[in-house]
Homo-oligomer: 294 residues x 4
Amino acid sequence: MELNNFQQIIDNTLNDIKNIEDLGQIASYIPELSHIDESKLGIHLTTVNNEHFACGDSNESFSIQSISKVISLVLAFELLGNKLWSRVGVEPSGSSFNSLVQLEYEKGIPRNPFLNAGAIVICDVLVSHLDDPKQHILDFVRRLSGNSTLTYNTSVAESERKTRYRNNSLANLMKEFGNIHNDIDTVLDVYFHLCSIEMTCKELAQTFLFLAMNGKNLLTNAVMQLCGFYDEAGEFSFKVGLPGKSGVGGGIIAIHPNQYSVAVWSPKLNKKGNSYKGIKILEVITTETGSSIF
Amino acid sequence: MELNNFQQIIDNTLNDIKNIEDLGQIASYIPELSHIDESKLGIHLTTVNNEHFACGDSNESFSIQSISKVISLVLAFELLGNKLWSRVGVEPSGSSFNSLVQLEYEKGIPRNPFLNAGAIVICDVLVSHLDDPKQHILDFVRRLSGNSTLTYNTSVAESERKTRYRNNSLANLMKEFGNIHNDIDTVLDVYFHLCSIEMTCKELAQTFLFLAMNGKNLLTNAVMQLCGFYDEAGEFSFKVGLPGKSGVGGGIIAIHPNQYSVAVWSPKLNKKGNSYKGIKILEVITTETGSSIF
Amino acid sequence: MELNNFQQIIDNTLNDIKNIEDLGQIASYIPELSHIDESKLGIHLTTVNNEHFACGDSNESFSIQSISKVISLVLAFELLGNKLWSRVGVEPSGSSFNSLVQLEYEKGIPRNPFLNAGAIVICDVLVSHLDDPKQHILDFVRRLSGNSTLTYNTSVAESERKTRYRNNSLANLMKEFGNIHNDIDTVLDVYFHLCSIEMTCKELAQTFLFLAMNGKNLLTNAVMQLCGFYDEAGEFSFKVGLPGKSGVGGGIIAIHPNQYSVAVWSPKLNKKGNSYKGIKILEVITTETGSSIF
Amino acid sequence: MELNNFQQIIDNTLNDIKNIEDLGQIASYIPELSHIDESKLGIHLTTVNNEHFACGDSNESFSIQSISKVISLVLAFELLGNKLWSRVGVEPSGSSFNSLVQLEYEKGIPRNPFLNAGAIVICDVLVSHLDDPKQHILDFVRRLSGNSTLTYNTSVAESERKTRYRNNSLANLMKEFGNIHNDIDTVLDVYFHLCSIEMTCKELAQTFLFLAMNGKNLLTNAVMQLCGFYDEAGEFSFKVGLPGKSGVGGGIIAIHPNQYSVAVWSPKLNKKGNSYKGIKILEVITTETGSSIF
């Protein structure tokens, strides 16, 4: 990989993908997200040597949504270590991200920390072990991103709270099985705020660079590789070949261990709920740079 | 990674693991496999530069079973290219390797080529496009392994045929959905032979070295990473951190792209159906050599 | 059927069944129910000609629990008529009474009005159409039973409310699918009170006599026959041969159209959640009197 | 019920229903059945006092298909008595008649004898205990119907054999679980012949009159009530109010215990696989005669 090519590859990729038809759809179930300009397109790549390559709308903030579930997993694993696995698995689910079926068959233990149910359990762990989990999450993200003004979008969080029925159903089912230890509303409040964090592509790439920096993050990278794209993890793995995580705000973060982190943003989602153009951009970038991990 | 350490790491690992209690069980449903000496333990690692590191029973042949499903996938993808994905998916299943439930919900399209149903569809593709699929498979394996006497164990194949009820159920269900194009008995005959191939650890490492050798095998490595260990793919990924594939004969092949292939063999299986000591050995090797891909 | 034999048959049956070993278990998930004297045994049979046959603890009040779901179904059907079937089905479920799996596959439409989910939808209908549904239910039951002091056991209702996680999960899932129109807590409050009604066997037989009295109750009797005993409806049908409904308080009501209603009470439940001795008593009674409907 | 009205009610019903639009579809998966004249409409009612009321195409033979599963259940229960219930349940399934999902979860024990899987197990019982099960079935049906020339339509049986993939899948899955004791092809041969019996409405009513004649058939009538109409058992129960069984040939038999048996035939099926006009006819008849059992 020649670094001096990176900027050109990114520029060309963005130009090429900008002009193809976007077959995706904006996420509509959160009203706050549906007002977004759907033509937004941004890329930011940061190397472990602190080089930066960016283009498009890479300095505009957007709702990172489920990408935050990587943050909460990292924090909960710091707190519990391998004891965490008695509360949540690390296996792909083989079903949609918010299904109750599997959760009932598996007696309230979510298959992985990136399913809604899994992230709610993770928030329950944070509530149990931290004085002020919402502030703790914010401090962590601000420190990593280098932006001390990053914050929650409380109207997005409130919007999710108002339409929380399925997440509430998941939380109650897990409470029934003994896998939620705290008050459900308190746990969901953390969960809804977690998903409402807003960042730019640049901040996103910077925040997650630590996962590329050293060998300690085998766990997180492996879970991203297997579970980061809902029911499209396999396809993302063989097309892009990097561990990553998407959010319904249209953002994706991907990691090349020991080399770089890259954030892309394009709001319209494919049928599996992942950014339609975002995946295409990453596919071209890893193909052009020959930098898949496989 | 210093190569001169490899031999010592492997030797130490084998000695350490040899003495721990083996909590696994021999696969009992194939009588031919149940007679194996359960204390067998072998390791063979081959680098892309043709260096070899081996210890233990690495030169004894054993039944590679489902590891062969990587071979059949490679052959079918050569024949059909991306058209293959209309017949079989590339997503982890989230359920056991021979479940009918998911297959019925998904209308006869198996989730991935390493599930029994998926490998049967792959064999159907081979029957459709090759004059003599069993000979073709054998030629391919012989060429890669460098051993022209490698062959099927027909009594193992016959043993599987006699207890074929679940595989027959899967094949008939897919035939009902139009996803098996040839005579079921012909397809299952290829499938049972495919799984009966016998090799040594050395031959196994040599056969699969091509997956480490160049960048063309993104697909195969990605599918192995996500689907190679049934319902333990996530755990294998974060403990070992390499794409791999196991078989109920107790063998495992793992690939470090651009670096090496490594085969291990220990017959007793954990509850998920993967070699108990085999996984432990690989975990120690990648930890000691710092050579996970994540 | 000779009526003058009824009393003797009932007496003999109670004596015989009293002495067999009770292999059931008291329902333990509602603390209020777990304090009951588990040797209680009562029978009361009322004919359409207003004859009464009783023995044992037939004048002691107990929690009728799910038997009340027949009451709420009758009231909701009076309000909506056949429009009710767009909100809830009339088919047996083939799975346990509080499963979420089927509810998710069938998009929030419960299979029948006696499943927890179905009864919660029925309560939602009552909340939508009645000024004071709890009072309305009570008025209805008091009028039918002839006992104007019948009431809710509010500590039982409160006990259910405190451990409401699964019911809350069901209600939230249905709300997500648009099948709960009112505030969830309001609906569940009606539901928990509905299940907390207390009656004697005599009052129970009297209350449900209207289902035997005339031909207008085809619907209710048919639904009881197919869905009244959770996953034991078939076995109850071929052993007892009457439409009926059980509750986890150990009560059962059964109807012989045009002839009689009969209530039995014995607190210990079999593995399917129905009164162990209650079913045996009814089996002997219908066999001895030759009065199955089949 | 005044008997002298029966003929007029039946005549009127047939005339009324003949003229409504038939929203059903001919069963197409068995080519032999798809050639039938879809306007056929026949009714035959026989009382326990040997009175006969008929109209329409009641003397034309048609394929009774799954109605035969009542015959095989009666024969198997004669052979095994209550031991039969270790092989097959008596509960409604809550899913479609040929689903594998439930069968896998319940480890090869079909929920009831009228599901395809259940009827295949019943045929396995007949193969185990009878010298010539196909002849035995024929003798039984000939004796009950009074027509010694009744026979199998071997081209229908052969047609089912050729498209047997789903039934073969079910049989193999049950064999895997140990619930098929004989050779699968032998068992399926009995099953396909069983379903190929042809009768007129008159013969059908006569054959099943024994279920109305005495009190010994509680079991069969109860199982018909709960499981006789696949996923429409509840709706049939509350609209018609009689135990019955349908077949994809468009026939339905229904029983009023102690009063009559009635057979109807109209080839087009509703979405649940039951005769569209057949159900309507029975609904009018039981409403007009006030003869539901509920």
